[in-house]
Symmetry: C2
Subunit: 367 residues, 2 copies
Amino acid sequence: MKITAVEAIPYSVAYRKPLRFASGEVHAAEHVLVRVHTDDGVVGTADAPPRPFTYGETQASVVAAVTGIFAPQVTGLSVLERETARARLHRTVGNPVAKAAVDIALWDALGRTLGVSVSELLGGFTDRLRVSHMVGFAPAARMVEDAERMRDLHGVTAFKVKVGRRPWRQDTDAVRALRTALGDDVELYVDGNRGWTPAEAAQALRAMDDLGLTMAEELCPADDVLGRRWLTQQATIPQFADESATTPAEITRELLAGAANGISIKTARTGFTTSQRVLGLCEGLGVEVVMGNQIDTQLGTVATAAFGAAHELSARRPAELSNFLDMSDDLLAEPLVIEGGALRVPQGPGLGVEVDEQQLARYRQDT
Amino acid sequence: MKITAVEAIPYSVAYRKPLRFASGEVHAAEHVLVRVHTDDGVVGTADAPPRPFTYGETQASVVAAVTGIFAPQVTGLSVLERETARARLHRTVGNPVAKAAVDIALWDALGRTLGVSVSELLGGFTDRLRVSHMVGFAPAARMVEDAERMRDLHGVTAFKVKVGRRPWRQDTDAVRALRTALGDDVELYVDGNRGWTPAEAAQALRAMDDLGLTMAEELCPADDVLGRRWLTQQATIPQFADESATTPAEITRELLAGAANGISIKTARTGFTTSQRVLGLCEGLGVEVVMGNQIDTQLGTVATAAFGAAHELSARRPAELSNFLDMSDDLLAEPLVIEGGALRVPQGPGLGVEVDEQQLARYRQDT
């Protein structure tokens, strides 16, 4: 059960089309595959998706942090010494995605060692999650086409619509077009990626008041402290914090400041161990969560689904699990399937999926 | 891995001497042994200590809740479906001790099924906890003797002194006598079990200002809402909430009300699954915790130690693990040992301890 090595393998897989949203755009998944090896020959795997415009990490910084700092800190520990591993990783400031990947790979190794599913080890509440699909920036008609395709192909009935452009009217028009095309039974909510001022956000929310949105995420910058509180106080739908609340302490600050009343959990940045803490924090404070997507690959999506399905609160809302469909290829041996609007958590030990070595050889950038 | 039956066995073991404190006294451990059986022949075990004067539960109510309500709800579940079990148990209001015992027995069964220690499954931070000993009401000289005996026999150097009597001077005199006798290197803190008014508590704390106490617990009733806030605002040591904060929502209310700035975790009332949530809540809010004792038997103490040792925050302070020393006998086959001021978490699958069937036959009350 002892950890003997931790690898960090940079790789790149192109997206079919660039993903565009208020805080940036992404053309290829330039990620890092993290693998934890144990003396029993077990290998635990996780995907690290660096997001320079959100956390400041790059592909190179993740490789450097994992191989240079974290690998020596966890090598020699048992895969059961998770809290010791967490304490050691947290000696280093920042680097959330690198830390999260080491943590998830360690849990995967633990599950494989014990022969049980990580989702069950975490709690085992359910075996599938309803899927919410992210609709990115495009002319309104194309956004409607995208959503209809997801509904027709995969049965998806929950959509997170990217907003935050200026003037805001183009976004609210797009949301209205989606509601008209998809009907009232579909769940719609919006994500501003900090693109609007509080005043713009308030106007836009009022303009969408009749559209039955279930929530809004990060409409304004995190540093608009009083503006976000003002917006949240007047909003008639919950305001979810995502990139403004990436650690338990940040979550506490946002919630106690009245700047948000819902939290996005992303395993890509808080792993499983700290995500458990976030869940306890939110549940105890009486705050809803959504399982968010860090433009995850299939492997990242599996981690999100494993955690989300493990607990009642994290399984309640549709989870954001479909971004991998925009990738031109993937590392997993067996592709994930979204069917009937849901993703089934892969069964089998650990995360229940395997990396295809040929695919990895094809896309890795360090050889 | 499927649960086939849940037993609730009432039993009674006398204390060597009655335990006296501000909220009541206890002459015998009239507890309930809860056992979860699986179709693999695995048995998970937990101790349920009913506390009528704290939670309203009695030995009979615990037996009735476990056998009449909870057993049918969890029978048929896998031991990995913990969150489903938790959701079902929480359909019933109250009954924290009965619910906690079912949860702990389920974790014990899971650990035994997987062949690993529950403390490691929970997090595996450390394998031992420093012990804090509770010094109950007695004349000051006897309280000093009790503490000195614990120090000399077991190396204990942290003491929780029961206070809350009237007039408060007898308690502050006793604490002063303890500090004088034990010296400055020993950790002392106090527990009022809601015995004082806020005004009395403020006076008593001022009278002990030079005694280097590290914290105070439940000096006043939970319903003294503004009085507790007033006390906590002026106190120069943290005020820990225990019986006023027995669920995550109660903890949130006490902390946000400013009525407390530390939390006692008792696995006897929140089991392992909800205690994980409490830990996440407190860690995220930046609040310290102490592993408390519900006048636990050795089996209950093992559960407290397993959880406390699993995480950095819960392992930080000395844990209250020594009450079992006051019992005339116990159900465990191998007695626990406090040595060098610490308790080593039993190794081995599950909670790592076994109930002696002859002892159980001797003390059970249902045959």
